[in-house]
């Protein structure tokens, strides 16, 4: 399995859950991976190195304006450049319009939306140096599937999907050969979601997705197989929004 041989990836929120599964799969396909998280991801990173992969971990709060530069610079000097950015870090805080607090909303937007913006802005020079790249933003099918409680989460992910397209069209028109797409997972069995979500009975496939199923989609978008795919949304949600 060498679909990403010679490529270097940065994955945020990679200490556990979907991010760890994504980092693992990228490594298995031959990429060198920088894992970042506000949680400790050293164990995940060590496990990947023990398996013979190229991996490193660094603590990073994606929402902090100055956090990205040193992490990307360290990644490039360690692994020789950057080809892939996976903005996976995200947070869900349930609230309705009547209960939401502005500071909470700003926190959610900081991690889910402003962080990916900072990451995309900071990574473009590195990708241009490599003659191209692939940006993959993990949105959610909550962009199209509304609950009263998803006011902050859903709107942050909808904005992220829209922002992704603006970046994709800009990079395309500039001739950078940098692609940008969003993936929209439905409920996936992770620590954040738990395994007994009431949503399960509404999923046509009758089960939650697995982290590996999301990671396989990231590999597709990260690889040169997807060279003509940009500014689009890929749903991995068991059919939830189709009916």
């Amino acid at each position: 399995m060498t679909r990403l041989q010679g490529k270097v990836a940065v994955v945020t929120g990679a200490a556990r859950g979907l991010g760890a599964a994504i980092a693992t799969r990228l490594c298995e396909e031959g990429a060198a991976v920088m894992l970042t998280d506000i949680l400790d991801g050293e164990e995940t990173s060590q496990r990947l190195r023990d398996a013979g992969h190229q991996a490193a971990f660094t603590v990073m709060d994606v929402a902090k304006r100055d956090a990205w530069k040193p992490v990307l610079s360290d990644t490039a000097s360690r692994f020789g450049g950057i080809d892939i950015l996976v903005n996976n870090a995200g947070v869900y805080r349930p609230a309705t319009i009547e209960t939401i607090d502005l500071d909470d909303l700003i926190d959610v937007y900081g991690i889910n939306l402003f962080g990916p913006m900072l990451g995309m802005q900071a990574v473009i020079p590195y990708m241009r140096e490599r003659g191209g790249g692939s940006i993959i933003n993990i949105a959610s099918n909550a962009t199209d599937f509304i609950f009263p409680e998803t006011i902050s989460y859903g709107s942050s992910k909808a904005a992220l999907a829209n922002m992704t397209k603006a970046v994709a069209v800009h990079c395309g028109r500039q001739g950078y050969r940098i692609r940008a797409n969003s993936i929209h997972p439905g409920p996936h069995a992770t620590a954040m979601m738990g395994t007994d979500s009431p949503l399960v009975q509404r999923i046509p496939l009758g089960r939650m997705g697995t982290p590996e199923e999301l990671a396989a989609t990231v590999v597709y978008l990260a690889s040169d197989d997807a060279a003509f795919v940009t500014a689009t949304e890929l749903f991995v949600d068991g059919g939830l929004i189709a009916a």
Binding site: G172, P204, G206, E213, A216, Y220, A226, F228, L234, A242
Partner: protein, 258 residues
């Protein structure tokens, strides 16, 4: 491990363009590939190139579908992947639509896809070990955004988009592991544009117009569309059903030229 190892695949319209690229790509990844087309000469030639098996098929004819699927069942006893790729361009401006051409367009682009899902889907339901499979219906970016000069083509591709979701949810709710998704290519470098390329000047103008539509600044290559079909055919996409997969260089996300 190849990505379609041991999977029995059928692709309609496999003798040229996107379908031909899929026949090659699926074969490279270990698929046991059958394909149909109305062009038997080109079909046999493509079959020879990559070891796939050609079956004559007019997708608008139900009897021919029955025969093609029967042959696959006799040979392999199963079907894992079906790509409803065969399609034709539309009927031109509204005022000049001729009803026979209109009916033929819908017979191929809509009825043909339904018949494939019906007979291919029924064989998938008989697969040893239970109902499994992946159906990929080739729509178009013209099934998402309108083409003003060709309401027929847009109408058929929009029909494929929603038919796909209905079939996907129906299978899933009945507990079958048969997935069904639509693939939406943008302008791709295939013989489908040949009728317009009447001179070098017209051909260049066409390419310029198409490029203006596409942020990546170029036409897609058939292999790039085949790569998405491969992703949907493989187990990598096992949690995706009833969804739309766009491969168009960003064309449906941007206003042309801006």
């Amino acid at each position: 491990m190849l990505r379609l190892e041991n999977k029995v695949c059928f692709i309609s319209g496999g003798a040229s363009g996107l379908g031909e690229a899929m026949v090659h790509r699926f074969s490279e990844e270990g698929g046991q590939v059958y394909f149909g087309d109305i062009d038997a000469v080109r079909g046999e030639a493509v079959a020879k190139e990559c070891g796939a098996i050609f079956l004559p098929l007019d997708v608008s004819d139900e009897e021919q579908w029955v025969a093609a699927i029967q042959r696959i069942e006799q040979d392999k006893g199963r079907l894992d992947v079906l790509v409803n790729n065969a399609g034709i361009l539309g009927t031109g401006p509204l005022e000049t639509i001729d009803i026979a051409s209109w009916n033929r367009l819908f017979a191929i682009n809509v009825t043909g896809v339904m018949l494939g899902c019906k007979h291919g889907g029924m064989l998938m339901q008989r697969n040893p070990g239970g109902a499994t499979g992946s159906i990929i219906n080739i729509s178009s970016n013209a099934g998402i955004l309108a083409t003003a000069s060709d309401c027929g083509y847009s109408a058929t591709k929009g029909a494929v988009r929603l038919m796909t979701k209905s079939i996907a949810i129906n299978f899933a709710r009945r507990g079958m592991s048969i997935r069904c998704n639509s693939l939406h290519p943008g302008p791709t470098d295939t013989p489908i544009f040949k009728p317009w390329r009447t001179s070098e000047k017209v051909s260049t103008q066409l390419d310029d117009t198409l490029r203006e539509m596409i942020p990546l600044g170029r036409l897609g290559q058939p292999r790039e569309i085949a790569n998405m079909a491969l992703y949907l055919a493989s187990d990598e996409s096992s949690f995706s059903t009833g969804s739309e997969f766009v491969v168009d260089g960003g064309g449906t996300s941007a206003l042309a030229g801006m």
